[in-house]
């Protein structure tokens, strides 16, 4: 199927050297630290205490709500500590369980359940996307809004990452099984699989596995095509009415990343909960890129070591990609469900966005994939004119970063826009 696109957006010049690298498995050797909050659900309650013996797949954090995702041990061994305040990736503190691996890798499987939703909940599946939401919550919402199109997003969020295309070509069966399950849960009429049109391997693999059950859509990997708003526009030709809390379910679509769907397939077929992440690790100069399958809780330092990336002269370590990823404070930070990839920038490659003055060249306007006038919004935020920023649709911004990327004076536009949004929210909550 050919598909539409969107105006604006960019092709990143960084080449995706990792696309054809198969996943390498990383089993943590020593200690794993598993934060008890890894999604937008809530903090899970610790089910273990210091000294407990645990096995891989054993629930160590149970969600406080029925829709939340559980958290599992990812190595077998002994609980070394339950930390009350462990620094979270995005700031703040959450509880975390530290497990000392015994190297045996003993597993416990999921209990069988008639209701696939229960299985998904117990398997701790979230939608592995920029904002990981517990999958059950997402499915329930889609169901209640009668979403009838399921879109499996195998487009990589950012071009330097290739884990999704790779996963699709390696784990076709799991994906197919996951699609079946989810399709039956929400009663979707149609299924689309969005794939980078250049990822020939993935396309042919899924093509032969799915037969006619799903439509495979090859898309131009123009950034940020993988954002669900733009994906539904390209595939379904419809735009989601953008309110402050937009939801693609509003137009009857459910977009799930391919990793999510594969996890569902694995949970249904093999009764395995989520203990691994499938991520791409890249450096700013493109060398040493690898796709890895890594246990949750493994310190990023260990992952980098495995990929042969030295800590020497390291400037920035980014969870995710260079455009939307979160820079992390510390390489001891563990891989969690929130980590979409790892991008390492050396000191000399760090880009400094200055508080410069816009020259109104209009490049940002041309590039913005959602049709905003970024320089105006950012300008109003900077000058504290928040209501005007709101009049100019600040909340429609998806923070893709294209505007800042092209700006010749390097205004930190996304930061200003985030700032504006935060100030508006703060003003509202104080009223």
């Amino acid at each position: 199927m050919s598909a539409g696109s969107f105006s604006g957006g960019i092709r990143l010049s960084i080449s995706d050297v990792s696309a054809n690298k198969p996943f390498e498995r990383i089993i943590p050797s020593g200690v794993v630290t598993i934060p008890l909050r890894q999604d937008l659900g809530g903090v899970c309650n610790a089910k273990v205490k210091k000294g407990d013996e645990v096995k891989v797949g054993q629930v160590i954090g149970e969600s406080a709500t029925p829709e939340g995702a559980s958290i599992h041990a990812t190595v077998s061994g002994k609980v070394a500590e339950v930390i009350k305040a462990y620094p979270h990736l995005l700031g703040g503190f959450v509880p975390a369980v530290v497990i000392e691996s015994d190297g045996k890798d003993e597993w416990v499987g999921l209990e069988s359940s008639a209701d696939p939703l229960t299985t998904i909940q117990q398997a701790g599946i979230v939608d592995f996307d920029i904002k990981p939401v517990p999958l059950v919550a997402k499915l329930n919402e889609a169901k209640s809004r009668r979403a009838n199109a399921l879109i499996v997003n195998a487009m990589d969020i950012e071009p330097v990452l290739s884990s999704r295309s790779r996963l699709l070509s390696e784990r076709v069966q799991e994906v197919a099984c996951g699609i079946d399950t989810i399709k039956s849960i929400i009663g979707a009429a149609s299924v689309y699989i969005a794939v980078d049109e250049n990822a020939a391997q993935a396309i042919s693999a899924i093509g032969s596995a799915c037969g006619g059950a799903a439509t495979i859509v090859g898309l131009n990997p123009k950034y940020p095509q993988a954002i669900d708003l733009l994906l539904v526009k390209s595939i379904l030709g419809k735009e989601v009415p953008c309110t402050e809390a937009y939801c693609v379910a509003d137009i009857g679509a459910l977009v799930l990343s391919v990793e999510t769907v594969a996890a569902v397939g694995r949970a249904m077929a093999e009764k395995k909960p989520v203990v691994d992440r499938f991520i791409t690790v890249t450096r700013s100069n493109g060398t040493g890129a690898k796709n890895v399958q890594v246990r949750i809780g493994t310190p990023i330092r260990e992952v980098l070591g495995h990929c042969g990336i030295s800590v020497e002269g390291m400037g920035k370590v980014i969870s995710g990609g260079p455009m939307m990823g979160t820079a992390i404070a510390n390489t001891e930070t563990p891989v969690t469900k929130e980590v979409l990839g790892i991008f390492v920038q050396h000191e000399k490659d760090i880009t400094r966005f200055d508080a410069a003055v816009c020259i109104k060249c209009g490049l940002c306007v041309e590039i913005c994939p959602v049709g905003l006038m970024p320089f105006i919004i950012s300008g109003f935020s900077e000058k504290g004119m928040y209501s005007k920023a709101q009049d100019n649709d600040i909340f429609t911004c998806i923070e893709c970063g294209c505007c800042a990327y092209v700006c010749p004076v390097m205004i930190p536009m996304v930061h200003w826009i985030k700032f504006g949004k935060a100030q508006i929210m703060a003003q509202r909550s104080s009223e």
């Binding site: 305040a85 990736l89 700031g91 703040g92 404070a329 930061h415 935060a422 100030q423």
Partner: protein
């Protein structure tokens, strides 16, 4: 008819017409405005800082005249303005205690740990959006000076150690810094307050010890030491009740981090 008569008649006629028109207008638009509102507004500083909680000085003036706001409602104006307002309204102003802002964090660049090197917009509120701020302590001053840049009276300056300083002479206790600081580090206290624990952290002592040499551990030694029972520990943070504190200094000696201290010495 001579030219003078013509002129007198013409202008007189215009005068009659105009005054009748104005009479009608006065009926149509009649509004009684308390003349004192204008007088009070003239006395107020006119900075429109909003510290009084009204939408600007003239709003505050109206509230004062109507008795809805006390004569000393204008924090920025201080006692002299309160006196003047009281004069206009013919009531006596209770001598209000002058207040100033104090910085409730001592975690300067040498003593408090940072999680990472922050790079981005030079504003504490913006820094909060990047992984919650670079300071390891999630209660401490970020030191980017949002308060300094926005103090309407120029009373704040950024010290070399990365903490803001208050100029007591200039500070009018308007509260702008209190409102803007994302970590609520500046607090407005009576100028006579003698002692305070200059820390805002509600973290447990163990964590505080790891990340900041200047933090209140919540150990409670000060509370025990205080003869006046002026010190309380609220969620691992000691708080001094200034109405009881005599400034005897007993607590200073006991505090393991020296964070509870005499404010008299901190005045620049």
């Amino acid at each position: 008819m001579g030219p003078v008569t013509t002129a007198i008649l013409a202008m007189g006629g215009l005068g009659v017409f105009l005054s009748i028109l104005l009479g009608v207008a006065a009926k149509v638009f009649f509004v009684y405005v308390d003349p004192r509102i204008g007088q009070v507004a003239d006395v107020l500083p006119g900075a429109n800082c909003g510290g009084c909680g009204y939408a600007g000085c003239s709003d505050c003036a109206a509230a004062m005249v109507e008795g809805k706001a006390p004569v000393n409602a204008c924090k920025a104006g201080g006692a002299s303005v309160a006196q003047a307002v009281a004069g206009v309204l013919g009531i006596s102003a209770a001598a209000a205690e002058r207040e100033v802002a104090r910085i409730f964090c001592k975690g300067d660049s040498a003593r408090a740990e940072r999680k990472f090197k922050y790079m981005g917009i030079n504003d504490c509120r913006a820094a909060m959006l990047v992984s919650g701020g670079d300071k390891s302590c999630s209660y401490g001053c970020l030191g980017l000076g949002t308060c300094v840049a926005n103090c309407p009276f120029g009373a704040l300056s950024m010290g070399e150690d990365g903490l803001p300083r208050v100029d007591d002479e200039k500070c009018t206790a308007c509260g702008t810094c209190v409102k803007l600081c994302p970590r609520h580090i500046p607090k407005v206290v009576p100028v006579s307050q003698k002692a305070a624990s200059l820390c805002s952290s509600h973290d447990v002592g163990k964590l505080v010890k790891e990340i900041c040499e200047a933090g209140c551990l919540g150990c409670g030694l000060c509370k025990k030491a205080c003869p006046e029972k002026a010190v309380e520990v609220v969620k691992f943070l000691s708080v001094v009740d200034h109405t009881k504190c005599t400034g005897c200094g007993k607590c200073f000696e006991k505090c393991p981090t020296g964070i509870i201290q005499s404010l008299v010495f901190t005045v620049v």
